[in-house]
């Protein structure tokens, strides 16, 4: 089956389920990363939230991608807590807003939605690129989508490049000194550790690329 150039509602659901599975599989890793420079709960927080999301997905009817993404955002906001709850919640709420009423997303729609989501995260958390947060994975991912589109790449290819950019952004957090979130309390002692939120954000975009390839 060759990859389609839109993400239908089923593919979006597939993406969310993959993300939930990846979070569950990487829960201990995320806890470990957060223990080093935070309070050790990022893995359990995200896992609790994504389990709630899976329950929501089971109850879904209708194929409105925007409505589904909003429901995901609400589920995260009311179950994750911590910094990640409002931030990931906002990401999905804004993506849902952008995709409202759509039954599928082409590359342009996906890029617009992710961009809106990431802007929401920035507005809420007031962090910038280089502050050693999830934005260090998310912002390059949006950028990569845009340049892939400019170079005429298809959906799957563009999402693959966006996942790669997220990975590079995630890895680039290692040498940074944190300026936002709990890790900032460590000052220089935060250097040398990979940011847990950037790591879960990479998983998010990696799962999207996988869903696009499979879809």
């Amino acid at each position: 089956m060759s990859p389609s150039d839109t993400l239908g509602h089923a593919a979006v659901e597939d993406w969310l389920r993959r993300f939930a599975a990846d979070i569950a599989a990487n829960k201990a890793l995320l806890v470990k990363l957060d223990t080093a420079i935070g309070d050790g709960d990022h893995g359990t927080n995200m896992d609790r939230g994504m389990r709630k999301v899976l329950e929501k997905l089971d109850d879904l009817d209708g194929g409105d991608v925007g409505a589904t993404l909003k429901a995901v955002g609400m589920a995260l906001v009311s179950s994750v807590g911590g910094a990640a709850g409002p931030l990931y919640g906002t990401l999905f709420l804004q993506m849902g807003q952008s995709a409202a009423g759509r039954d599928s997303l082409d590359l342009e729609g996906w890029t617009a939605a992710l961009d809106a989501g990431v802007k929401g995260v920035q507005a809420r958390g007031k962090a910038q690129e280089g502050d050693k947060t999830m934005l260090d994975a998310l912002l390059p991912a949006v950028e990569a989508l845009r340049s892939a589109a400019g170079e005429g790449a298809g959906l799957a290819e563009a999402l693959e490049r966006s996942a790669g950019a997220a990975r590079a952004g995630m890895e680039a957090t290692i040498p940074l000194e944190a300026r936002k979130g709990r890790a900032s309390y460590l000052g220089p002692r935060s250097v040398g550790h990979q940011d847990p939120g950037a790591t879960s954000s990479h998983l998010l975009l990696r799962a999207a690329a996988d869903a696009a390839r499979a879809g």
Binding site: K32, G43, S78, G81, P86, G181
Partner: protein, 333 residues
């Protein structure tokens, strides 16, 4: 991991269930969403005060719910800020028509979740003000970072604002008082050992037998500095001098001195810390007019302590002395 628990994911819920059966005469406990309100809430015409944060800091905040202090507390999972829906329900449950003050410790998670909750509550027509507490001098104060953490001053603010609300003051007044308490208070903490969250099962950091962490928060994060273990008097000097010089507290100032245990430090040691703090402040001409000594804002079973100083004036002193009737702080009632 050695803990008296049944299920790492159910720690907050089961403890709330315990609280419900133990103290049903004093508080009402909601399990889903999780919050604790004083049994007689809402108090018509009184400004209500709501706080909350991750669990693992007990008795904060649930132990401070009651007449003269908090109207409601929202606990999250261990070290994880609670969610807006909890805060919203708690806010609704305690609003007596005079508005609700949210006392928020300055952590990104707490701030963002309380922000969303305040937006929702306002949407429901409730007057909400939020004050963010950020008294921890271990962290640089900067516009470009997450800023200073909220620690010991939180409890002092909860007590003092609770007393002010009891006097019938307006929401704006009580919020202004809260900001003033925050502005006049400074804290610093240290750890002799790490702590282990039920979810992670591993100590939050590794520390040598002759090492301590200086400038810790209350979430098992490593501190700002790792240093060689020292006698109590030297540790007090190390922390209190930073606290004193930050505000600064000056000769002639009257203060409330709060020596707080992180959870795993015996009370007898806190009294030694208090003795040394009393000496140091006396040498600097600072008078301790009120004090609080014990485990009030903890970090699970971490061994260590924090020192909070609050500059007092007659108004703050009399608000401190006003009756309070909660599980963890009680006098005059």
């Amino acid at each position: 991991m050695k803990k008296l628990i049944n299920d790492p994911d159910a720690v907050t819920r089961e403890a709330l269930e315990g609280m419900a059966v133990a103290h049903g005469d004093r508080v009402r406990v909601s399990i889903e969403p999780a919050y604790v309100v004083r049994a007689d809430a809402p108090i018509q015409g009184k400004v209500a005060i709501v706080s909350g944060g991750g669990a693992g800091h007990e008795p904060m905040h649930g132990g401070f719910v009651g007449p003269g202090m908090l109207d409601a507390a929202c606990p999250g999972a261990v070290f994880t800020s609670p969610t807006p829906d909890q805060m919203l329900e708690a806010t609704k449950a305690v609003d007596g028509g005079a508005g609700v003050l949210h006392i928020v410790k300055n952590y990104t998670g707490d701030v963002l979740n309380f922000e969303m909750a305040a937006d929702l509550a306002k949407g429901d027509g409730i007057d909400v003000e939020a004050v963010v507490i950020n008294d921890d001098v271990a962290v640089e104060d900067s516009l470009y970072t997450a800023g200073r953490r909220g620690v010991g001053a939180t409890i002092l603010a909860e007590k003092l604002c609770g007393a002010a609300a009891d006097q019938g003051r307006s929401l704006a007044d009580v919020a202004e008082l809260c900001r003033r308490v925050n502005a006049e208070a400074r804290s610093m903490g240290m750890a002799l050992t790490a702590c282990t969250t039920p979810q992670s099962g591993e100590p939050s950091f590794e520390l040598g037998d002759d090492e301590m962490e200086i400038g810790i928060g209350i979430h098992g994060e490593p501190g700002r500095y790792r240093e060689k273990l020292a006698p109590a008097a030297a540790i007090v000097e190390r922390m209190a001098s930073v606290v004193v010089e930050d505000l600064p507290f000056n000769s002639g100032d009257r203060v409330l001195a709060f020596v707080n245990g992180m959870g795993g430090t015996p009370l007898i040691e806190l009294y030694i810390v208090y003795r040394d703090l009393h000496r140091l402040l006396a040498e600097r001409g600072i008078t301790i007019e009120r004090n609080l000594i014990g485990d009030y804002i903890t970090s699970l079973e971490m061994a260590g302590c924090s020192i909070t100083l609050l500059r007092l004036d007659d108004e703050l002193t009399s608000l401190w002395d006003a009756p309070v009737d909660t599980l963890a702080l009680r006098w005059g009632a």
